[in-house]
Symmetry: D3
Subunit: 273 residues, 6 copies
């Protein structure tokens, strides 16, 4: 599963939802029921997605829904809606601060938590190792609010990024970089993507069609990465046939984490044909 | 709040619900949406309680609803129903295994978790210290199932009881003893109550009107306990006026835990006064 | 994988090893390199098993090797031997007190830890949730030694049993009851098996051929258990086809833990034809 | 309680103590018994403050005493003195590394721990969630010493600041920025205050009268913040009347943390009214 | 250091203190400043022990002082007194629930915590692994009070005993059994000692001269134990000379824990000549 | 023990090993069996060091061996070799992520773990407080690989450095800075050493003879440091004679951590004296 770009779409905007499904090429689409939907429209949005999402052709895209914070009553009606929508593959949970495995058990859907509070940072390991979690992202505006600080002061913060990437990789899940709000500035966005990639993020949450292409481009693996991946996959699958879960390839330990990294690279190649 | 008896009533049984509210005298009533309600009747039960509960006069009884396990989809529709029912004071959550503070935040209702799985026993401290938890009980049949053992082998188990009481008291919440299934055997029930009281439980979950009176009787404080309580309350409130949170009464540390124990005793006297 | 009986065989006793493989019917055979092999014969035993084990027909039995305590140098030569022996499926690690996942990574073999020290009891959760662990047992003689107490005082101890079973079941692995040393007393042994089964243990470690048959008998599922298992498996597999990881069967939550319990029951039926 | 400025005053300097109480306007005064008082004068300082502090008019200022490290014998005589001094509201505990709730229980005074050692950083969550803790600050000189590094290398360190602010906010207590030693450089001090505010600190520890005014100014809320606070308080108090602990205000979760932030803002307005 | 008997002596009773030092033969004497000393006599008791204890000849006995609970103000004056009394070797801390290493650092005296509350049971590992702890005991009356239960119900409780012994042994410190209150019943006391020994306790807290002799007798090692100890010490010291911290003696791991057990046995032999 | 420079030497390079022992002056020599030795030469290297290391005169240098990752089978044969080589004082364990005390118990050798994976960063406290650990270092290339990021992005990362130094100092062990790969650039290397020293590292891992001298120079204590050390040692040893483990020297707490820092300084003076 590639997650180079995850496009947020307001859950009450039918036009954009159709566009995301039918015209755009993000790896994931995240239908938002939280901040992008005003309180008065939450119920309308739930009805809309319940009917609309199963009708559209998602064409290999990972379909996700961002529900409201479990500490609000909205969350419960959201889950009661989402688990009935067949094509939804993943539930994005904001302000994650604790073990979310129960949502996975109840819905059978993968979980992508968002770290965006002080306690979420302190508890990130509990969050990412929840059963069913396959990716994690974070939010800087909400984080700054939660500590009473300013967005500008926390944007360059290395502590949060280092912990999000480390916790994700320690548990074999995908770290996804946060939203870049300035949709006019594509050059700034590209640089943000490149920095994120160098830190180990596998993709970026995006909010506008124009950001999709840039993210897909930056986070696609290079030829060198592809060759590395081929060797890893070959060696590891041979090892597994020999009953081994970890091998030494040219003096480097190669285990399931590397295998998953490599498989994602090759899946990309296959998909983009 | 006294919790000498907590009467379970099936959530789809209007007659029993009315009886529990209007004719019986348990300290708490727990409307059940979980095991006592077949899958096909869950939605009927939700509708029934949404309409019926606000109409009845609960007359000082603590009204609780037991929802389904958070690892089933039923839970979400349950919470979406319960948080709208004004007189509900407390949500009983079965198979509790993790921090449940989010339910308290979302609903504003107190939480009473049930320890009834292997992991619940291992994680009991996380469960009872969740924000909003005010009582805890446990279930032996479900526990035995969760470990693949038999009810008979686990009924006398001291480990579970010791941990339920200790975890509850360590965090200043009420330990409530489990259901006694043999409704014909009131003498056995009374002895079960007395053993529970000697271990520190403050009351018992019950399933039949005849058990209510016995539980209320056994778990009511004796005169000696009442005198002790009067001294504690007096001394502690004086201490608080002097800006102290813990005092030494006749060489014994007296703090907020003791104060709460004592206040419950006196509240009983006042109510039954 | 059934584990009703796990027969210990001294690693330096070729005759018994052959007998265990070819004549006896334990579900698992545990070749011992630890307490049953004197220090002077450790190296001889390693050589013997390296050559002998691959030649024998294990006929569906789970072949395990108990290595020495990781806190002795013997452990390293043991592992260096065992990971090269193809038919070995599982490594039994005595005096387990910490995360043993590294042994699984290095060898590709499943791990069965033994809880038999004071610290092992306190750290049991770390031990059983190690990657690659599929069963856990315990030892009472070593435990008593580790706390400076007597075997007799600890044999009936419910704390250890409750924690071994609970930790195992909380993480979906098999709890196996400990060795019964009095090989002459088969009636006592049978009662010990029955008590163990009622607590949720799935089988017993045994030390003599005569104990194998009794254990296999007691720990085999009854007809009622078989019917229960059929329903669980059917319902759960249907649920999984519908994309759900947990279902409500007659008002009871059924999830992967129950499915694994049920599958083991049916596997038994299939094997025993 | 505003804590924009917390003025340290040596505990053996009567003139400065009087000045701090009667002439200066810090939000808190911290009488120091630790580093500012030489060993030979500890006892003199204890006697002085025992007599002097109750005589002065503190006029709404939060009166705190910094005691010595609990790992020195001085600490015990300090506490034995301080708990008898009525107007003392808060005890500042240096080199905090573990749960300090026992000091709160013993004295009935709030606790402000200082994070200033390597272990304190690793254990910060245990420290800030101690019962009775209402604010937390940190020290960079002592931290650098504790790791064998230099002050200059650790002054810009983002890890320490991020964890102090996050731990404080995760548990709803006040993060206070550290001392700025260069008392001549008021412009540098102002910039330090502004950076601290942007990171979420609510105030600063200060050591000289001239720093008080600057800190009070920078950490006072702006008009925009005041309006935000009015809306939060109004909405949250209405929610509480409706029995809810968390609400959605314009699509944002508002809970007790925000309410406390907002209340502090309004308290400021009222006081300076 | 043998700790077969630890005799409590009220801290305000000069006659008994002298008797304990000069006439009786307990391995440890614990001067009590807590429950045995009324509030009004605490200060008198402190003065008495400050003067008296250094004058007496303790003759190889371990001199301990039980201070008041750290959650009362008495504790601080107690420590301020005790750290100045040279012959005091150990501080007994009641109602222990958290890391007590700071008391060791401040006083240089060994620590013996008492587990006697619900939270103390849950946190026992934090308590016993505190720096400076060398023994641990527990109290059943206070424990029963802390959970609101009765003494009679908790006296036979195996959970508490198992955890006290296990936690102590896991960290290489001495588990000491609790007080037996019925001073008239020496036969019952002897049986209590024997049960305690079989569980691994090394001695007993006692309250009357008549109990001292019985405890010393029961907890003295037998000849067989002495022989075992001689072999362990010899083998381990040889191992240490060879640079090894753990050895295999007749197929059993022998490490520092066993060495300390063995040394205590031999020290007894040496002392008792 | 000084650890200003720790020189890596490939375990299969006899010439370099001889040179390191006989001609060069690093404080430690680390014979590498991991990355510097190709898979095909592992066994050759083990044989070489088994024979060669005992023959050479290490002349006060700390002799270490870096074994392979415990999650590879190489590790077991490595340990089986190393524990038999007398002059080896320390085992360096790469990709450390869990409690490594068992290796110390088995071998009697000190442990120096390397933090170089995402999980290693999250678990650093478990790693450094393992029994037998006396120093810790880290690797940035492996860390970047483990998170899927680039070396360049992680080289300046402050989070990793802050945690390595803090965890080391919190447990009283030596933090050693990582390898600087550009062996031609001695000026850059010197600056790297100076930054490391200012952060509290006591030395540096090096890979070439030319780096040894620079590291020894930068990490040697200055005269001022020497004077400070003399006072600490004198005061602390006097305190210990008085039965105290922590003292107040000029108002600063001085305990075992400072004593060890100071002793290292003086040991240097003595050696180079
Ligand atoms: C920011 C935003 C409001 C701007 O919308 P806009 O003003 O319509 O933007 P543009 O005019 O540039 O849009 C160009 C086209 O892309 C479409 N589009 C814009 N954002 C889109 C999105 N996130 N998904 C799908 N389609 C989108 C528009 O509908 C428009 O299509 P049309 O011309 O066919 O109508 C919009 O991008 C948006 O809602 N983003 C997602 C916000 C969100 O979900 N936030 C929650 C997480 S932070
Ligand atoms: C066990 C049970 C089915 C027996 O019911 P029953 O056969 O009707 O019992 P009885 O005939 O003795 O009941 C006598 C009266 O008490 C009423 N009653 C019985 N249990 C009651 C209950 N839990 N709450 C309220 N009223 C109850 C009956 O309705 C009946 O009243 P009625 O004569 O006015 O009709 C019933 O007690 C019950 O449902 N208990 C609760 C079960 C539950 O909630 N379990 C979940 C947690 S384990
Ligand atoms: C206890 C023990 C020594 C008794 O052995 P014994 O005196 O030979 O017992 P018996 O004479 O009753 O044995 C009968 C037959 O069973 C065989 N046998 C006994 N225990 C066996 C075992 N554990 N596995 C395989 N075969 C076994 C014997 O070899 C003998 O076979 P034979 O007649 O063909 O020679 C033996 O059972 C044993 O070694 N058990 C395992 C001990 C162990 O591994 N302990 C470590 C974990 S606690
Ligand atoms: C640094 C310090 C010694 C400088 O003192 P100084 O040389 O007297 O400073 P100034 O001459 O500028 O002081 C001007 C006036 O402010 C007063 N003053 C200075 N610092 C003061 C303080 N922290 N609190 C109250 N009054 C103070 C002085 O007494 C003087 O008043 P006066 O003219 O009426 O005598 C002093 O500010 C101080 O002691 N600060 C607190 C140090 C401390 O507590 N450290 C521990 C935590 S890091
Ligand atoms: C229970 C207790 C009050 C009984 O005291 P008592 O009535 O004097 O007992 P006896 O008359 O049997 O005492 C016989 C002698 O032993 C002495 N004695 C009794 N308990 C003693 C003790 N704990 N330490 C030293 N001497 C003691 C008495 O002083 C008396 O000596 P004397 O004849 O020279 O005066 C007493 O044993 C006691 O105080 N025990 C300790 C209680 C304590 O410390 N509790 C706190 C922890 S639970
Ligand atoms: C990088 C490296 C291959 C360069 O080696 P090189 O090309 O031989 O370097 P130079 O020619 O500059 O060496 C000069 C002398 O120092 C010796 N030398 C170089 N690195 C040495 C080392 N790490 N230890 C001991 N001697 C070393 C060389 O053998 C040579 O000696 P000689 O002239 O007597 O033959 C070598 O330094 C090396 O192997 N370093 C250690 C790598 C390692 O262990 N990595 C694992 C941890 S990251
Ligand atoms: Mg957000
Ligand atoms: Mg149940
Ligand atoms: Mg054993
Ligand atoms: Mg300081
Ligand atoms: Mg007590
Ligand atoms: Mg490396």
């Amino acid at each position: 599963m590639l997650r180079r770009s995850q496009l947020f779409v307001p859950g009450n905007n039918e036009r954009m939802i159709r566009k995301a499904a039918l015209e755009l090429r993000p790896d994931s689409v995240i239908i938002d029921l939280e901040d992008a939907v005003p309180v008065d429209e939450k119920e309308t949005a739930r009805k809309l997605i319940r009917e609309l999402l199963p009708q559209l052709d998602w064409d290999g895209k990972e379909l996700c829904v961002r529900v409201n914070d479990p500490r609000t009553p909205f969350f419960y009606a959201d889950i009661d809606t989402v688990y009935r929508i067949d094509p939804v593959k993943c539930i994005v949970i904001p302000k994650a601060e604790f073990d979310l495995g129960f949502v996975y058990k109840a819905t059978g859907r993968e979980i992508e938590p968002l770290i965006e509070t002080a306690k979420g940072l302190l508890r990130i390991e509990d969050v990412v190792r929840s059963e069913g979690v396959t990716a994690v992202s974070y939010g800087i505006a909400d984080f700054a609010l939660s500590v009473g600080g300013s967005l500008k002061a926390y944007e360059p913060n290395q502590v949060i990024k280092t912990f999000v990437v480390s916790a994700a990789r320690a548990y074999g899940i995908d770290p996804i970089d946060r939203v870049y709000f300035d949709i006019k500035n594509l050059e700034g966005f590209r640089m943000d993507c490149m920095e994120a990639k160098s830190l180990g993020f596998v993709g970026k949450q995006v909010i506008h069609p124009s950001q999709v292409l840039v993210a897909n481009d930056v986070f696609s693996p290079s030829e060198e990465e592809v060759n590395w991946a081929r060797r890893i996959v070959e060696a590891y699958e041979k090892a597994v046939r020999d009953g081994r879960g970890a091998i030494n390839l040219d003096g480097q330990l190669v285990d399931y984490v590397h295998y998953k990294l490599a498989k994602r690279v090759l899946e990309f190649v296959r998909q983009s044909g």
